[in-house]
Symmetry: C2
Amino acid sequence: MPKKVDHEARRREISEALWRIASTRGLEGASLRDVAAEAGMSLGRLQHYFRTKDEMLLFALRYIESLAQQRIRESIEALGREPTPRDIVRACLVGMLPLDEQSRTGFLVGVAHFHRAVHDPALRTGAQEGIPALRGLFADQLRKAMEQGEVRAERDADDEAMVLICLADGLSTYILLDVHTPEKAVQLLDMHLSQLFDGAGAR
Amino acid sequence: MPKKVDHEARRREISEALWRIASTRGLEGASLRDVAAEAGMSLGRLQHYFRTKDEMLLFALRYIESLAQQRIRESIEALGREPTPRDIVRACLVGMLPLDEQSRTGFLVGVAHFHRAVHDPALRTGAQEGIPALRGLFADQLRKAMEQGEVRAERDADDEAMVLICLADGLSTYILLDVHTPEKAVQLLDMHLSQLFDGAGAR
């Protein structure tokens, strides 16, 4: 295996060990040493791939997000037709909810990163880049839906996009706290989408 | 001072020390010993008031929530008129957002508790009691607003109430990550409330 591929593969293995800790006992207080032990390697070897907990956490988060994006693309393809703006927005939002083990782990890794980012301006940069990009994607779809008459033209696409992201975040939190079931969360999301996609041309 | 009052006062002092840690370096990895040091007492003395980190965290959370409720009551009284259902719902939601140091600390203590509750079924009981009570309060106000024609009768009061709670949660997260300003978050909340309170009798 070429060296670069090997390096990436090792970083992924370490990320998967970190996920296992996130989904079982939680990342609070988990050290680089704990993750190394879970990955079956020495601390020194792990530090060859990640120098700090934050570097490791960010890589693990980006990696699980890339898997989520892959699943979202697959769910859109599985529709078997040209996706509407609403299809795309819904698939992304459903993909953000912790509905199975992988997305649950992804959300928990995200929460651990959030927890550190609140107290570290440098770490917040990641969220400051990622969320506006997602908001932009949703806003573009909402503008398309406005042109097609599915969303009323007087709506503010950027603001509605941010409300969608906030809603998905809160729905996820209360799935993990067992306040509502995953099915109920999806139902609340669909209720909100029906209210948003209520233009004259909406089905 | 009677013994019981003294006990409660000491628990509040310890809670305030915990808040200071939550709002500065964060509670991740903070031990009972760290909180005792911040409160200027020995670990043994702190354990006279709280036996576990979870017991301390829950008390600190309930205490800061009670201060938030007091501020919400004051903001409703400050309106200087009989509050409408929308006034009450809005005051509660704005009171949940991290708009100043105290509410910011409250949200961070809540996140720390969330982080532990995800991995501990016993701890989740707190959220499972608190959130449905809040949802019930909002749903009651929405039903009143329906009777007054401020909210359309075909809406589902319980579901809309839960969407409000989820939205406030997500809006708060992205204030703390500096994705949007507190002012922007309040504007998004008001946009959502205007869409919800869009009945024939709404002003």
